[in-house]
């Protein structure tokens, strides 16, 4: 049993981290609420006054808001679809006995370690350039007209890049989970004459449900905040999301109040999502 002295020391040891994180989570929030009700523009700070709800009103009625809200959700769903479907397939594939498994694994997970600005620019130029890009060459080789990715399907293009970055994450987690699937269970199922499809449906998939949930929830947190990929490929006007809209309110419009109001809307959105995550991770913690 922990001693009283140890307990006191334990509380003391936790204090700095709690204080730091409390400051980190509370001070920006308090200030964001404050600025959100303020008419405050960086290029005219002397004309600052209480603005009521007007910042929220202007942010929501901004022509970009509806589009960017849609883009935010669409991008999350698109990337989730790519990474979950691809991740399950890749994990099952990598779980097979083969030669050079370690090397294949390294190749598959590498994209996850590429910084977002690099993957965005490499994809936009070397891969997706409408004339010189690799895809353009492939398309022409098949006698097709190359696609002008970022001009004609900007959201899908960003989705492909982000999906490429996050597919390794899903694969890695699902593979880790697969490898903990009991070997005996596999053998038993085989002896019972279960086919590949049956085995997948009744054993593999149920076993993967929990890790899939974890992947969905964690990716969602990060995907709601995709920013660098949109900024450096310069598609903020075509396929911007809420994060980008807040950035442009600050950066292009110099409007602190409206940007803060937009930020608060993003906070509410993220909290709706994360309420689920905390609950599920919490349940796993108890188990």
């Amino acid at each position: 049993m922990a001693t009283r002295q140890g307990q006191a020391l334990g509380r003391l040891a936790v204090a700095p981290a709690v204080a730091a994180l409390a400051a980190w989570s509370i001070v920006p929030l308090a200030l964001a609420i404050y600025y959100a009700f303020l008419h405050y523009q960086l290029d005219n700070p002397d004309n600052t006054f209480f603005a009521g709800w007007s910042n929220f009103y202007y942010f929501v009625t901004d022509p970009f808001f509806a589009k960017d809200l849609f883009n935010t959700v669409a991008l999350v769903l698109l990337v989730l679809a790519i990474t979950i479907a691809g991740g399950v397939l890749l994990a099952i594939l990598l779980d097979r006995p083969m030669w050079g498994q370690g090397i294949v694994r390294v190749m598959v997970i590498s994209p996850f370690f590429i910084m977002p600005t690099v993957s965005a620019l490499v994809w936009k130029n070397l891969m997706m350039h409408p004339v010189y890009g690799f895809f353009a060459h492939v398309w022409r080789a098949f006698g097709l007209t190359p696609v002008d990715w970022f001009a004609s399907i900007p959201l899908l293009s960003v989705g492909i890049i982000v999906g490429w970055q996050w597919l390794p994450f899903a694969t890695l987690i699902l593979l880790t989970a697969l490898q903990s699937l009991d070997l005996e269970q596999k053998d038993a199922a085989q002896m019972d004459g279960a086919g590949t499809v049956d085995f997948f449906r009744h054993i593999t998939l149920p076993h993967l449900m929990r890790p899939i949930t974890v992947v969905i929830l964690i990716e969602t947190i990060f995907l709601l905040n995709v920013f660098a990929e949109i900024k450096v490929t310069s598609v903020g006007g075509l396929a911007g999301n809420l994060t980008y809209l807040v950035f442009s309110q600050l950066n292009d419009a110099n409007d602190v109040g409206e940007a803060a109001a937009g930020g608060l809307i993003a906070v509410v959105l993220a909290n709706l999502v994360s309420a689920f995550l905390v609950r599920i991770v919490g349940r796993n913690l108890e188990a």
Partner: protein, 349 residues
């Protein structure tokens, strides 16, 4: 009985897996090729990549044009210092929560009572803010008082929770979208921030954290602190309690217990956490793009400069990219398992 795969079957899976692995890796591979070509050749790549000459000139040009090593230095400083600072906060915290857990709240108030208390403080804060006309430019003390009035009840609530709830709350701070924190942090970092323009009689006209290590290192530390604490916590949790008890039976004091028994067993977990944190901060690209532009700008910012280039730039972009990703990619290969553990907050091991 183990499953026996026929040789043909194994060969087939090997072939498929290698093909898919190569497709996933291809953009990186292609960047690696373009980095060693001349600009003209980089633009005609697929047809000529085996025949066109190889060159190292891009690396020299990138360094000469933009002092590339400076960015490497900045990235390293931010990643390493923020990691060490984070560990200084996280190791005691994880130790306390893993070995001295509190199983019940230290203040016994119902959820309803807490909600009422918090609401009351929010209402008071809002009432004061509204009554003073909402303008705090010239009154930083009032601003600070209001932040404390708003924040302290929340902090008190967190502080009195049992350990499990504290952990979940830490996790929840990671979910704060950067878009929400961008404006306040930008204004705190920037001398124009309303609250910080003046401090009593002291003029804070020179206050500036934008594009400085003093700003970026603590920021990066706070961004990753929840992950670091969680990961360390799950590692510490695995250290069997019996060993500690045995040490205590043998008369080990708290200090001996920490230094002789716990520390050696905690080293692998700490090393893994360190590795993951370096990778995360190396690749961070929201705050670095928004808050740096020269002095403390890391590689992620440097690469973003290529989004509006002049003339042909693919070979140089590739060379710069390759140097920016290579070290961290290799680190990543060696930390696959830790990555799973850290990024799923211990839910998948």
């Amino acid at each position: 009985m183990a499953r026996r795969e026929s040789l043909a079957k194994k060969s087939a899976w090997t072939l498929v897996a290698w093909a898919i692995g190569f497709v996933m890796f291809f953009p990186i591979f292609w960047t690696g090729i373009a980095a060693f070509k001349s600009e003209a050749d980089a633009y005609s790549l697929p047809r000529t990549w085996l025949t066109s000459p190889w060159t190292l000139e891009n690396f020299a040009i990138v360094q000469a044009r933009s002092n590339y090593l400076q960015y490497v230095f900045n990235t390293t400083v931010i990643a390493v210092l923020s990691t060490l600072l984070g560990l200084a906060f996280a190791i005691p915290a994880a130790w306390g929560m893993a070995f001295q857990p509190e199983t019940k709240p230290s203040v016994n108030l119902s959820g309803k009572a807490w909600a009422l208390i918090l609401l009351f403080f929010f209402a008071v804060t809002a009432a004061i803010a509204l009554s003073v006309g909402w303008r705090m430019t010239d009154n930083p003390l009032l601003g600070l008082a209001l932040i404390l009035l708003f924040g302290l009840p929340i902090a008190a609530w967190v502080w009195t929770r049992r350990t499990g709830d504290k952990l979940l709350w830490m996790l929840s701070t990671k979910m704060m979208p950067p878009a929400g924190a961008l404006i306040p942090i930008y204004l705190i970092f920037n001398r124009n921030g309303l609250v910080f323009r003046q401090w009593g009689g002291v003029d804070l006209g020179d206050w500036n954290l934008i594009d400085t290590f003093a700003g970026m290192v603590p920021l990066m530390m706070l961004l990753n602190l929840p992950i670091v604490i969680w990961m360390l916590y799950t590692y510490f949790k695995e250290i069997p309690f019996e060993i500690l008890e045995a040490a205590r039976m043998d008369g080990a004091g708290l200090w001996q217990e920490l230094s002789k028994v716990l520390a050696p067993m905690a080293v692998p977990g700490i090393a893994s956490t360190l590795l993951l944190n370096v990778i995360l901060s190396w690749n961070e690209a929201f705050w670095t793009l928004n808050l740096t532009n020269k002095n403390a700008a890391p590689l992620s910012f440097f690469i973003s400069e290529y989004s509006s280039p002049e003339g042909q730039f693919w070979a140089k972009l590739s060379a710069a990219s390759l140097m920016a990703i290579a070290p961290i990619m290799v680190l990543g290969w060696f930390s696959q398992r830790q990555l799973v553990r850290g990024l799923t907050f211990g839910a998948v091991k």
